[in-house]
Amino acid sequence: MRTMVYDELWDDHAGSLREEGFCVFKGVVPDDASGAARRAIYSALDGDGLDPAWLDVYRRESFAPQLRRDPRILGVLDGFSATTALDGLFGAGRLRKNDPAAIRLEFPSLPSDRDAHVVPALDGWIRPSRQFPEGGLINHTALAVVQLTDATAGDDGGIVVWPGAHRAMISFVEERGAESLRSGFPNIALPEPRRIPLRRGDLAIVHYLTPRALAANRGAQINTSIHFHVHHVDHYSTFWNSGLHWSAITDPWKEWPGVVG
């Protein structure tokens, strides 16, 4: 399997990451693993319900928060093919283990709902507040999305990226410095956004500096996925005042030996 990834697919994936800032490994999560995760998530909805007062929090952070470290959720990345893909990108065993995942349930909107404009963002911005007066940015190495339900039609929702915009972000950081990202999303020219169609069992990897958003789900099913903020083991926590580790931004491929190598 590893040979197949390297020989037949690897150049495409590494090339896509370099050029577009993301790539998709198709069908690398086995059905039994994605099924166990769906069963755990949907069962939690039944047992614990969904309190309308908390829906915004669930959407922002994670549905079924009690499952964020559950082995059935974290285990979707443990299969041979997914491990091979991640090892190939970041180096064997070089990802920090057991970080909590975010369970994303995108419920359908109705035809009568207004079209929401997708707004590009990077993960981890902290709005200025009393606690963090200068705001902050918790960056990571990549976003890994494991798709648990088919979302291939154009209106099924899911992740949207601005392909190639990571290169504009890199140039911006080179010119203005990484600290400038604390001020919010930079004013840069962006290409047209593109939704990533994913099937159950697919794994999408998005470079941290690739702008992204979630599209509205106008399909019929609950678009269900697990998002991981993956950290290379050399990537320290980068809270605004905790010994900033900006090298992953100023040297954006430093944590990706499989892509630059």
Binding site: D46, G49, P52, R72, F107, G219, A220
Partner: protein, 272 residues
Amino acid sequence: MTSEHGRTVGITDDQKRRFLQDGFLKLPGMVDSVLVRAALRTINHSLGYGGIAPSVFTEPCPDLDRSDDIDALLYKSPLFDVVRQMIGRDVRRLDGVQIAIRFPRDGDPSGPIDYEAPVERLTRLTPHIDGAKRMPKVDLPTPRQVLVGPGDAILAHYMLGHGVAENLSPDIRYTVYFRFNSRVRDDTPKNVTGNSDRDVSGFTGLLGIYLSDVTGEDKGNLTVWPGSHRLYQRYYARHQGEAEQDFLYPGLLTHMWREWEGLSDVVPEEDR
């Protein structure tokens, strides 16, 4: 409301006899996939934006009692015509709709779900008649999980003993139920001797429309005891006091085909 679809489905005498015998009829491919998709979207929207009560005893989606997308399953498919063919042209739909959602059953996080043999699980499942506070004690036939796909429907006699199988699949099972009364009830005096706390008015027929894949067992299937309606009929004929105590229309339990005008040609003389 009149039917707005362009398809007609004629129920055959063979299907009617099967309904008499089994107490239910499977109606495959009744609802167009576009209608199924619209209804599913509406239900999932209601779950995601209206929330879900943390109790299996609370029906979800109370906001969908008057939903065009849900009503379309009945009126923009041949199904309302089918119900009229079976119960009668002046059949009346009961108010409201039941959005029946069966979430997967969870297992032990550290290991696989307890996959005991389906037959053992089914023997633990007991049938019910909707609303009945106590069930007649009769020797029941072997239960059967009904296999259906999206767009299929099941029409069942009110007296059929039924239940719901576990959902051991990874996915949510979605069914929409409509209930119907025949006009016979309008002319049938209510029994006023029963205990009002236990009065069950019941209804004539139940129509379940499936929006998800239930083509295998243990996916939250409707589980039926084929022929149990006739066993219950005989029981109530022998225990009329119990029927009068519990039901508002006890006579319709013992003359169970009186409300099914469309079956009059195939109902045996002794059952009329």
